[in-house]
Symmetry: C2
Subunit: 201 residues, 2 copies
Amino acid sequence: MSRSVAGPEIERLIQLMARLPGLGPRSARRAALHLIKKRETLLGPLSDAMRVAAERVVVCRSCGNVDTSDPCTICTDAKRDPSLIVVVEDVSDLWALERSGAVPGRYHVLGGVLSPLDGVRPEHLNIEGLVSRASEPGVGEIILALNATVDGQTTAHYVTERLSHLPLKITRLAHGVPVGGELDYLDEGTLSAAIRSRTAF
Amino acid sequence: MSRSVAGPEIERLIQLMARLPGLGPRSARRAALHLIKKRETLLGPLSDAMRVAAERVVVCRSCGNVDTSDPCTICTDAKRDPSLIVVVEDVSDLWALERSGAVPGRYHVLGGVLSPLDGVRPEHLNIEGLVSRASEPGVGEIILALNATVDGQTTAHYVTERLSHLPLKITRLAHGVPVGGELDYLDEGTLSAAIRSRTAF
Ligand SMILES: [Zn+2]
Ligand SMILES: [Zn+2]
């Protein structure tokens, strides 16, 4: 039913826009038309910003954050507490926690959670890197800031097991996080409270 | 509350994404992160597609459609009925009607509707261009395919008045269009039926 009604250049733009999360075919068409109408003020600048991001954004080999430097700005921030590492599933969770301003330390992005159903096993996540970082002298606490889902909590248990030989305090977020909820959708206040009230794991 | 948590290159990408219709700040962050993760398969190609669109898409000086040629592909399509012009508010409505496959003729995009409250007056719309095209020999019918809103119908009356000196049949879409609804949200079947059952204006 989706006849090609614009030229191939516009159709390609629409098709690529439709692959963005949150945009279906219809909203992709609206977004593409909006871009074409705002050629000078939005389409050109957005194309440039994407080009810059495509060329310059790298993944931090230490923590898994995305930034234009490796190690990233957070890893190289001397004002951060070197004894604290907050383990998250995804960069979006790192961003959400940073917005809360409640993390004095650094992060470690696992890149997912264990999921037997989806075939995600420990070797698919950046767990070796976490064990390595957690083994460094001066690290005293690991906060497991994983989603309050079954897979998230399974992953938390697995990570705890993998770190059990180290003299670390391992904590998790307080149950201010709604059961079944995802970090990235929570407001800053809830995330702050959950960090403050973290409990021994 | 929106602390800058990523580098300036990523923040700029997020801010520009947030200006797209249908994306708020949160979904813009998710979309930007999705793009960064799909650098090779989506971010690069989308940047290129936007660059191509920014450089090559033009507005057809005859009908107001957007395309990479002026006059546009529809205006230069020799298989189209030269006696019929379908007047629409926006290019999105042209696209919607083209998807229905029910228009054998060409289009004229007004670029909006008259709206005293929003200060949109006749000189802000491409009405002169329509009068000029409608005056050409061989044009026999003008279909007013405007939204079934108060402003859309006000505009239809105004356009009819401006064309009244010409020996034309002026029609409007049948009332298959829901009252108060907007063309771009209708399915192809409803639009086809509305074109087929068009009535004298
Ligand atoms: Zn880092
Ligand atoms: Zn045209």
